[in-house]
Symmetry: C2
DNA sequence: CATATTATTTATCAAATGATAAATAACGGT
DNA sequence: ACCGTTATTTATCATTTGATAAATAATATG
């Protein structure tokens, strides 16, 4: 049974003039294509996050209160819809401001890192992001390789550059990033990501506040990384 | 032991007397049921680890060089086969000796922890274990909830008990395990598990030796946990 | 109101997929 | 060497599932 559509949903979109009292069991009438597409995308994000990409188009359509062939008016294939979901979540939730946040030496290093990881955690520690990322990673290595390459370039390497500068170590142009350094940053990243795994894949609610955990992890990270930085440059 | 036979393939099993030169394109003839079942299980572990549990029985059969209906002679349903895979990997690779290893106070605490996590890492940091665990977790929360409950009881709590004892803190019967304590142990566990995620889900080879990483993580863990242990008991 | 446009549905296809039943053939016992 | 047992295959079913084409109906426009 189609549960009578909710007020919070798309019910009021495009109910322009006549306040048409549609038959209650029926979905909304002819929506504007751009609206419909947005609605489909939004629901697809939630749907595939829950069921994985093997989730069936018919079930997705049912959740949308539309028929399954209508999906194919907006997306040529299921794969195209999934691609759109990727864009929406992995690209759309990346904040362009993060690069400058990390490298803004007007702020103390620790507060920059804390701030960045708080924002990053807020972006990725969601049911959708974590599960979709894991589903995508298990499905094919390509997508995640791209994402993690970006993460390394835009975050990991920048973080190490800043740390080197902070502690007066040789710049990476002079002494390339070491395995130990990158491993430390991976460790910090892993700790935060794993909070999402615990919550949204293992289904175990976190007992502590995320921001406190992040603050603690960043502190530990910074105190730990001093031990493995390369020797000071003797200028 | 099931894996006792055959270095590489099932080719030589049961080629008893006559050394029958079967047509090369054909699979082996009538295998002993217990052997066949073991072979199917072994291949199913690899197959589902690669493709997830939506992997198709026909493709699995092809890899086994048998026909698909033969699978149903050994396992009533696909679900039963998956259940067997769970058993084989998650139950079968758990070592009963770990409990005593952790609590054996004849050994120093640090070497006990290092030894345990080295052995545990050796068991779970495999393509099969990591991916199957993640597939299972994403599919339904039930299985992993069971596993993680076991992990908490048989490892996490024991570790905290040992640490409390080592540093002369109140026993957990007197002062229950705190959120911070369990969070620290989770963190250590996460770090090790994430090594597997990087390798086998993200497809990024590790640049450092696993044992060295574990030693370092255990060291960091032990130095970090002293700060968050409850106050000493004043007896 | 009449008509064109098009968002949406209905009907349906073809391939995939888990599962079953009957036919076949390899092996062991006598 | 024969024969019964049974491991294995062949043939096939019933759903499921991504996708397409045609029919329907809501909206805009004149």
């Amino acid at each position: 049974m189609l549960k009578a559509f909710t007020p919070t949903e798309e019910s009021f979109v495009k109910q322009s003039a006549k306040a048409r009292p549609r038959s209650a069991t029926r979905g909304p009438p002819r929506l504007d294509p751009s609206q419909r597409e947005a609605i489909i995308t939004r629901e697809a994000v939630a749907f595939f996050a829950e069921h994985g990409f093997e989730g069936q188009t018919r079930e997705l359509a049912k959740r949308l209160r539309i028929t399954q062939p209508l999906l194919y008016r907006y997306f040529p294939t299921k794969e195209a819809l999934i691609e759109r979901v990727y864009q929406e979540v992995f690209v759309g939730r990346w904040k362009a401001s993060w690069g400058k946040l990390i490298t803004d030496r007007a702020e103390p290093l620790k507060s920059r890192l804390t701030q960045f990881y708080r924002e990053y955690a807020e972006a990725i520690l969601t049911y959708e992001w974590i599960r979709l990322f894991m589903f995508a990673a298990l499905k094919d290595l390509g997508l995640n390789a791209r994402y993690l390459k970006m993460l390394r370039e835009r975050v990991f390497e920048k973080v190490i550059v800043e740390i080197r500068a902070e502690y007066a170590r040789p710049p990476i142009a002079q002494l390339p990033i070491t395995v130990l350094e990158i491993e430390m940053v991976w460790g910090l990243h892993a700790a935060i990501f794993y909070l999402g795994v615990r919550q949204f894949i293992y289904g175990m609610p976190l007992e502590a506040d995320v921001n406190s955990i992040i603050d603690a992890k960043v502190t530990t990270f910074l105190s730990g990384i001093r031990c493995i930085l390369p020797a000071k440059s003797r200028v």
